[in-house]
């Protein structure tokens, strides 16, 4: 298929099917049936099997007429691609469609009080019940974004303690609304509460809900983490809420408000480079040679990062082996965020002491200053990303092996 025939086909299909008066679920069911909602997915699973560049053509047509697309958030960005790669056909049948239609939202139950960076050291346990049909889950998860309204969680739990840590983990789709799952909001240093603590006390998960083989959860988790590093632009796209009039638009706006609520501070977390030039000019600081140097550095960094991402995408589309550009995105994001925070302080001066209504830009600057630290931690810390870049891209030797060969039972871990 070439770009022009894809374009013609999408356009004809949209003309025949899109109406802002449909309910969101009705419309997204059409998307699932036609495959145009997720054009890169396989034809048998709600997609069209198109290459990323042809899928981009389809997306362009959606944007042109303002048709609503699939939902944002962790379901589409993380759970669905993981299930597509590793889930059984039964799971794909049960779970994927409702992600596409937006009926089910998902959260990521990975981190624990005792294991964050060392994700494979997790101690939440899943034990097979006597009849062998389901697992019983006990443990605690932490920092779980969106757990308070998620329908499912991507759960990592230990199913075998007698093998090395990476081999005893299983990946499950856990229903969140059930006895034994308790979600408590956790307040962040910026005052928002977008993540949670999740307590699991004899929660149940059907054995058939294992994504991938039992004991092979680590491999599956790596797939999710790889998608997570790439998911930033998906979030940004979804955050641009639909502007049209009609039922589908109204429902999408409501959905976006809900899915995006935990992410309302994300632009602040990214440092808001967009505000800087305007603020520097408005405050007169743009005439200060030191400020000018700092702004020039920041803008150069931001633009070069954008060009680097474009090179990575172009290389992917041209079918070249992935170069180093792709692995660096998260590190650049935290570098930019920190630089923004520095320049905002430089421009704001003493007013940076103030927040809320007293603070500059009705408190937005203060919120930037206290949200930026999240970037270099969430989704894998900068240190971990540097380890990944140096080992996988540059091929430097791995850290010495202390705990990956012993049975997990014998590995030293955090006291609880």
């Amino acid at each position: 298929m070439d770009a022009e025939s894809v374009r013609a086909e999408v356009r004809a299909w949209l003309e025949a099917n899109w109406s802002p008066e449909l309910s969101l679920v009705e419309w997204r069911n059409k998307l699932a049936d036609s495959g145009w909602g997720c054009p890169t997915w396989p034809v048998e699973w709600y997609g069209r099997g198109l290459s990323p560049s042809l899928a981009e053509v389809a997306n362009e047509e959606f944007e042109k007429i303002g048709a609503v697309g699939t939902p944002g958030g962790g379901g589409m960005g993380l759970a669905a691609p993981t299930i597509l790669e590793h889930g059984s056909d039964d799971l794909k049948r049960r779970l994927l469609r409702r992600i596409v239609t937006g009926e089910d939202t998902w959260c990521q139950l990975f981190s624990e009080p005792g294991s964050g960076s060392d994700l494979a050291g997790l101690t939440t346990r899943a034990e097979l019940s006597a009849d062998g049909d389901e697992y019983v889950v006990n443990g605690q998860k932490l920092w779980t974004t969106s757990a308070h309204h998620a329908k499912y969680g991507m759960l990592l739990a230990r199913t075998n303690w007698d093998v090395p840590k990476h081999r005893g983990i299983t990946y499950f789709a856990l229903e969140m609304h059930q006895p034994g799952v308790v979600v408590k909001p956790l307040k962040q240093m910026n005052g928002h509460a977008s993540f949670n603590e999740v307590f699991l006390n004899d929660a149940r998960v059907p054995a058939a809900n294992a994504i991938g083989d039992v004991g092979n959860g680590w491999t599956v988790a790596l797939a999710t983490l790889a998608h997570e590093r790439r998911s930033f632009d998906v979030l940004q796209r979804a955050a641009r809420s639909a502007r049209g009039q009609g039922r589908a638009y109204d429902e999408q706006r409501a959905e976006t408000t809900q899915i995006m609520a935990p992410y309302t501070w994300y632009p602040q977390r990214a440092g808001r480079a967009d505000l800087i030039v305007e603020r520097a000019q408005a405050t007169g600081k743009a005439r200060d040679p030191v400020v000018r140097q700092e702004i020039a550095k920041l803008l150069a960094l931001a633009r070069a990062t954008e060009w680097t991402a474009k090179r990575a995408r172009a290389a992917r589309m041209a079918g070249r082996p992935p170069g180093p550009e792709g692995s660096l995105g998260k590190l650049y994001a935290s570098e930019i965020a920190r630089a923004c925070s520095r320049v905002h302080t430089l421009i704001t001066g003493t007013d940076a002491l103030l927040s809320g209504a007293d603070g500059p830009l009705e408190g937005v600057i203060a919120e930037i200053l206290v949200s930026v630290p999240a970037v270099s931690i969430a989704g894998g810390t900068d240190e971990i990303q540097r380890n990944i870049v140096s080992e996988r891209v540059l091929g430097l030797p791995k850290d010495p092996d202390i705990d990956t060969k012993k049975p997990f039972r014998d590995v030293p871990r955090n006291k609880r």
Binding site: A296, P324, L396, P397, K398, P400
Partner: protein
């Protein structure tokens, strides 16, 4: 804008790299940097005749290959990687572009074929002992005489100024300042009234000279006294190209360093297994990739977006300078005591990085230009 190289561009890179691996190993760089001319005429002849490199981006009607700045940038990136000792930057990135930008049709037809074929080697004399890279720093005077012009003044930091057989000179009309009254002139290297003296340099792989003009006769390029825009365009193009040359050097340094870190054992482990070293290497890769993206983008603008070029060229020059130097400094650090020796190659690149940081204007100067050019 092309974000991924074409087949032809990949092929060009491979060809140039193969040629340079053969002709410019660091043993050869070390030999040439000790000579006064600083290059090997046999290699210059081959890169001209076999590969046509001096004419890569020169239009076909003037004897070139008619490719673009994107291709010229690839050539320079590879030369930076191999640390080639040759008057290529001076002749192609500076002088040829000055003539393309400022010359009349008949001047281009007369001058460019010899440059594109490599028979003639030229340079651009811009900076004076004040060390300024902006047009306001030009004080050398062009005086009208009965049948032409004579030049009076001093130029310094002129790349390959000792060996170039043709020199393009930036001068000004008496009693003008700033961008006003700027003229570009050219003359042969053996013209009477031109004195040339080699300068002792920090980076011996790029030769610099001081030129004294004591009434040397020169011919104006294009319209007299109206060359400010052409000269600025030349400098922007050169900044973009230098950014690519720097990216090539930085890339080679990172490769050498990672290789060393994999093999050098201390405390019973390769030093590359210590995170302090790994994280440095990851940071080196990060700045390299940013510098490379900016350098490519700037070269692309030189071909496709004259409007964007000035701001982006300054961005790329500033970012490339910082990245190259930072990477060179870390490369020495990771090589430990060996990195501080004459015998190890890292210092050759460190010196090129340090010199390139200042050449054509340092990062602070270019960031200020970038700020002005983006309307700050």
């Amino acid at each position: 804008m092309r974000w991924s190289p074409s087949e032809e561009q990949d092929e060009l890179r491979r060809t140039v790299r193969r040629f340079l691996e053969e002709t410019s190993p660091t043993t050869e760089v070390r030999r040439l940097m000790e000579t006064p001319e600083g290059y090997e005429p046999g290699v210059w002849k081959r890169l001209s005749q076999e590969l046509g490199l001096p004419g890569v981006h020169v239009p076909e009607q003037y004897g070139g290959q008619g490719l673009g700045f994107a291709e010229l940038a690839i050539v320079l990136e590879e030369m930076g990687r191999a640390l080639l000792c040759a008057p290529y930057f001076a002749s192609v990135a500076l002088a040829t572009n000055a003539i393309l930008n400022a010359g009349t049709e008949s001047q281009k037809a007369a001058l460019l074929p010899a440059l594109a074929s490599g028979e003639s080697i030229a340079t651009l004399a811009l900076t004076e002992p004040s060390g300024r890279w902006d047009l306001g720093g030009i004080e050398l005077q062009a005086q009208r005489v009965a049948d032409g012009f004579t030049l009076f003044g001093e130029k310094s930091f002129v790349p390959d100024g000792l060996t170039a057989d043709r020199i393009v000179v930036a001068a000004r009309r008496p009693k003008t300042d700033g961008r006003e009254g700027i003229g570009l002139f050219h003359l042969r290297g053996d013209t009477a009234g031109l004195e040339r003296r080699p300068l002792t340099t920090l980076d011996p792989t790029r030769k610099l000279a001081r030129l004294g003009f004591r009434g040397a006769r020169a011919e104006p390029l294009g319209e007299v006294g109206n060359a400010a825009a052409a000269l600025e365009k030349t400098l922007d193009q050169a900044a973009a190209l230098l950014a690519n040359e720097m990216a090539g050097g930085a890339q080679r340094l990172l490769e050498m360093t990672v290789e060393y870190a994999k093999t050098r054992v201390q405390f019973g482990r390769p030093i590359g297994s210590f995170q302090a070293i790994k994280h440095k290497c990851a940071d080196m890769l990060m700045s390299l990739e940013l510098a490379r993206s900016s350098a490519y983008y700037a070269a692309g603008c030189a071909d496709e977006s004259a409007k964007e070029l000035p701001a982006v060229a300054s961005l790329a020059k500033a970012q490339g300078s910082d990245a190259y130097l930072e990477i060179a400094a870390e490369a020495i650090q990771i090589h430990g005591g060996l990195g501080f020796t004459w015998e190890q190659d890292v210092h050759l690149y460190f010196k090129r990085a340090k010199a390139s940081e200042v050449f054509l204007g340092d990062p602070t100067y270019h960031r200020e230009l970038f700020a002005q050019r983006t309307g700050l």
